[in-house]
Amino acid sequence: MKNHMNRMYLELSVAYLSFLAAISLFYGAVELVGYRIFLTPLVLTALFPLCFLKNVEKKWIFVLFTVFLAIVDFLIALYPVNVWDVMGGFSLLVASTLMFYSVKDTLRLLYSGLSFYIVGLFLLLAIGILNIIILLAKILDYYIQCIGETCGGYPLTIRPEIFLFFLGLFALYPFFHRWEFRRKME
């Protein structure tokens, strides 16, 4: 890294990605089992190991940011979702696993870390964008089914995949910023 600011951006990006991974993990589990009881603490504990990571130069900023994200994570997890979708949940869990898996190597500036970062994030964005298109299709279908009948407005419910998509857009930062990843730890 050329300067400390870049390093700090990298560390904060990794913390943010972990935050996304934690919410994905939570909602993935909720969708998989169909209820949220006992799962909420998952959001808080998922980010806990980050505070003990090595290769973090700006330790205090990183820990504070992580704690802040854990609180935001917890608040987001209060959003009520009553979806039982085994495969939808599995998809979020896979994206979450890939993102968590990237953390350590990305902090060490290894390409293998960035590879998981990219694929995990893109999978999350793909899940999100597909859910947005599906939501639009459902709204269209609702109004087609209403032809000839008296219907109210579409009962809109936003799946977590959709807001995760918008949160995920912020994690695209590394693509606009050239990190000097190296081949291996010297």
Binding site: V94, L98, Y111, L123, D141, E149
Partner: protein
Amino acid sequence: MLIALAGNPNTGKSTIFNALTGAHQHIGNWPGVTVEKKEGHVEFEGESIKIVDLPGTYSLTSYSLEELIARNFIIEEMPDVVIDVVDATNLERNLYLFTELLELTGKIVIALNMFDEARRKYKINVKRMREILGLPVIPTVAIKGHGIKELLQESLHGNFAPKGMEYPDDVERRIQKLLKVLEKYKVKNPRWHAIKLIENDGEVIKKIQSIGARDAIHLAEHLRHEIEDIYGDDIETLFASFRYSFAHGLFHEVAEPINVGGVTLTDMIDHVVAHKIFGIPIFLVIMYLAFNFVFEVAAPFQDAIDLIFNGKDIAGGGHINGLIDISYNWMASFMPNWLASFINHGMLRGLGAVLTFTPIIMLLFLILSVLEDSGYLARVAFLMDRLMRKIGLEGRGIISIMLGFGCNVPAIMSTRALRNERERKLSIALNPLIPCGARIQVFAFITSIFFVSHKAVVLWSLLLLSMVVVALVGFVYSRTIFKGRAEPFVMELPPYRLPTIKGLGVHMWEKSEGFLRKAGTIIIGAAGIIWLFAALPWGVEYGSQASYIGQIANFLAPLGHAFGLTPEALISLFFGFFAKEVVIDTFTVLFGTKSAMLASMTALQAYSFLVFLLFYTPCVATLATVYQETRSWKFVLFVVLEGFLLAIFFSFLVYQVGTLLGVGG
């Protein structure tokens, strides 16, 4: 004996040359040019060997003098062996030249130079590389003199059974066509000349013109334009990309990066999607997302088409007439009732049913085209190859199995590419167990009616079941009926690219067109025939027990009890033997409405039916192709029996276990 040393610049070629020849060198110029020519001699195991160091080049086009010298030497002097000196630390890039050398000669020894440095970067499986290429591969460290003796030993006694690089089918067919013309003119290495002519290589064109083979030049020009039209790119870029894909695939087969450095986005994505542990879950998620997208996005379009054709009953009374109602009322006013019913309730309803599923078909092919054009499907083949290798089926067999998801007929025909007869037969035997596009359409139809909230999961589970069964059956067959060792081969991995809208549109249309054409002919015709079966003999109530279809149903009914298959389901399976899409017709003609279909079966029965449909006998066209490819009625019978046994087993299992657990009742 004459040995030529070829390789990229800075691969240590000269160091190897020096180590091989010692002081016995002669330095001069290549005839007519100022490019340095180095020759040397070595005595080894009583053999006098002349070694020529060719100029270092990255490829063998005709753009530079060095490239021309190198390739002309191999073509004209025909060295006994070419040692390709490869910089093992840049293996993938160096393999590009190897793909070109392979077109010139099959007597190649690969020297993996700087192997000590490369080991810090990748884990290179030399044994696997030898197996895949069928050529000697020697790790060398030229500056330390390691591997030099082995190079000479392999040059003298090595086993050369090269497995050449093959181009995509549509390119390969054209190369073969030109090859036949060139063979008449007795040119040395006609395949290489054919490839270069198609590639528009100026030097080769001049050479072929000089021997008066004008027909070959004209044909090459024609074939070149055809290939450019198919792939939408210029010929040089295309051939370079085919060779890079081969090199990339070979690299992934033999090298495992320890620390990935200097990588492209393609490498980074491959690092994850072709990962041993994560590859399969990612594939499952992508398939699920794809199916979910197809069903959910198609739904409003399907409902709109359904509304147009069938109209709808309004809650609280009333009915909106659809096209069928309007047309029937109009026709019944001037023609016999039975004829109006035949046209509208038979054929028009059949057409409506087919058109209702057009959005699903088009979206399905759109998403498959996205996966294919982006390069992801090649990775799926790579992933599956690694998995299936463990259970007996390898290489190109996987590709034919994957083609089976489109249509079993071309998939079975594609097994011709397999060199090993055992693998070919194994692939043919497994192919009908893969649900073709037509079966997937039927799955889409049934799931959208019986599993409204779990459509994607149901379809996904069927595909997963099919893959698991193919894997298990392949495992059993490869250790019993089709016993033997499978051929290793290089799976080509093209770089990832963003699909173009035009490309997607063309591919989607090409694939959907077949379905729509069938819809306009066979399927509407079949709908008419099924209507006749349901309406005859004259005077019986339409679709009743007394009709022909009712009588067939009564006859078949006892067979279906153990599997939860209703008489109507059995009839549809019977007609599905002719073409799987006809199952949709049968349901539509027999029941007319979705609610009638829903009332006829429980969800468990519907799932048992789908499982039966997944495996039972393939359609007539597929069986005819199996016969054509094997020339054995016994093999055809084997395929039919295999399908029925698996269908009976799994359908019985699903229905009985489901009933015991009280699921889906």
